[in-house]
């Protein structure tokens, strides 16, 4: 082999080596570890952008009630106060015809109303005068008549309460308190 061909081969080898060590290869390494390596800067970028995103999302969620007006609850006449004796109850629908509710007069004379849909599996609750409670016959769930709070059986969430307003002898439902 002559010197000339040696030189040529040498140059070729250098060129090949140069290609194999090209700078772009650093960004696309063949080794698994280097490919999965996360630099400190990348980590900090991720944390910072992630924090901003979460903070921004929170701000948007917090702003929604200020921007979007909640639809007005209808005002519906439910019953005449005189028609419900102490310990008595009356069924009605509020806010739509599809939402059954129950109005009860407690032993102290106060009127309270709740959604009639049990918070366990949506059976209809009934008023139990003897225990002064709302009773769900499906799985023997009990809610207090005063607050709608579950105290026995499977339900774990309280019944949505219906806000009432009395004008003279007439009782109106004016909103739902979840």
């Amino acid at each position: 082999m002559t010197d000339e061909t040696n030189d040529k081969d040498g140059k070729k080898d250098d060129a090949l080596r140069g290609k194999k060590n090209a700078r772009w290869r650093e960004d696309f390494p063949v080794e698994w570890e280097r490919d999965n390596y996360v630099t400190r800067r990348e980590m900090v970028k991720f944390l910072a952008l992630g924090s901003f995103t979460i903070a921004g999302a929170n701000a948007v969620v917090a702003a929604i009630p200020h921007v979007v007006k909640a639809s007005e609850s209808p005002r519906t006449k439910v019953a005449l106060a005189s028609s419900i004796p102490v310990g008595g109850s009356k069924l009605f629908a509020y806010p739509t015809e599809e939402d059954p509710c129950i109005l009860i007069r407690q032993p102290n004379g106060d009127l309270v109303a709740y959604s009639q849909v049990c918070t366990h599996l949506s059976c209809a609750v009934v008023h139990s005068e003897k225990e002064n409670a709302l009773f769900c016959p499906c799985h023997h769930g009990y809610f207090t008549a005063g607050e709608g709070r579950p105290y026995a059986g499977p339900p774990s969430r309280p019944l949505p309460r219906i806000k009432l307003e009395q004008q003279g002898n007439e009782i109106f439902a004016i909103g739902v308190e979840v």
Binding site: K20, F28, V30, E31, W32, E33, D35
Partner: protein
Amino acid sequence: MNGADQLEFFIDHSRCIGCRACMQACEECDTHRGVSMIHLETISRADSVQTAPQVCMHCEDPICAQVCPADAIKKTADGIVQSSLKPRCIGCSNCVLACPFGVPKYKAEINQMMKCDMCYDRTSIGKRPMCATVCPSGALAFTTRENIERTRQGMAIRDWQFGGETVRTKINVLVPRHVQKIDVAFEQGGATGTDEYDVATLLLGD
């Protein structure tokens, strides 16, 4: 049982009886059920019944990974060149063309390249690859170098010469004792290899 890092893969082509048990075992694997990652090549089929199993050789400098434009082929620290990463592979077949052993295969149904990863789920915990567990003639063996040297006549080497390119693989092949390096002369432009046992010529005799 020996540690996983002491075990090596050995191919003894002369022992292959062409039973295709390795292909069946490979197909059983849940990660690529029904598709065999090991290929069985026939050698000079008109004259011979000789076959040769071809698993991925796991090159030290994997050319398939070097040519991948999508950065989809990666080599793990233990020297295993993994199959293409599904989210990255663009199905360009560069690796299929570049691999000197013809290992990567492009699967059009999933538009992805799939190749042998030496049963990484098994070998990384010291179990033998599926093909090596079933090979009845010992053509595929996953064992220690010491064990191979003690039980086989040939010598295990892992250096290859493809034209001007030298390739060192993780997988060993058993060759006669005087061979130091497997020299594969590519047949180009209709010229035939001068060596009667040239691998490329023998494959073309198919």
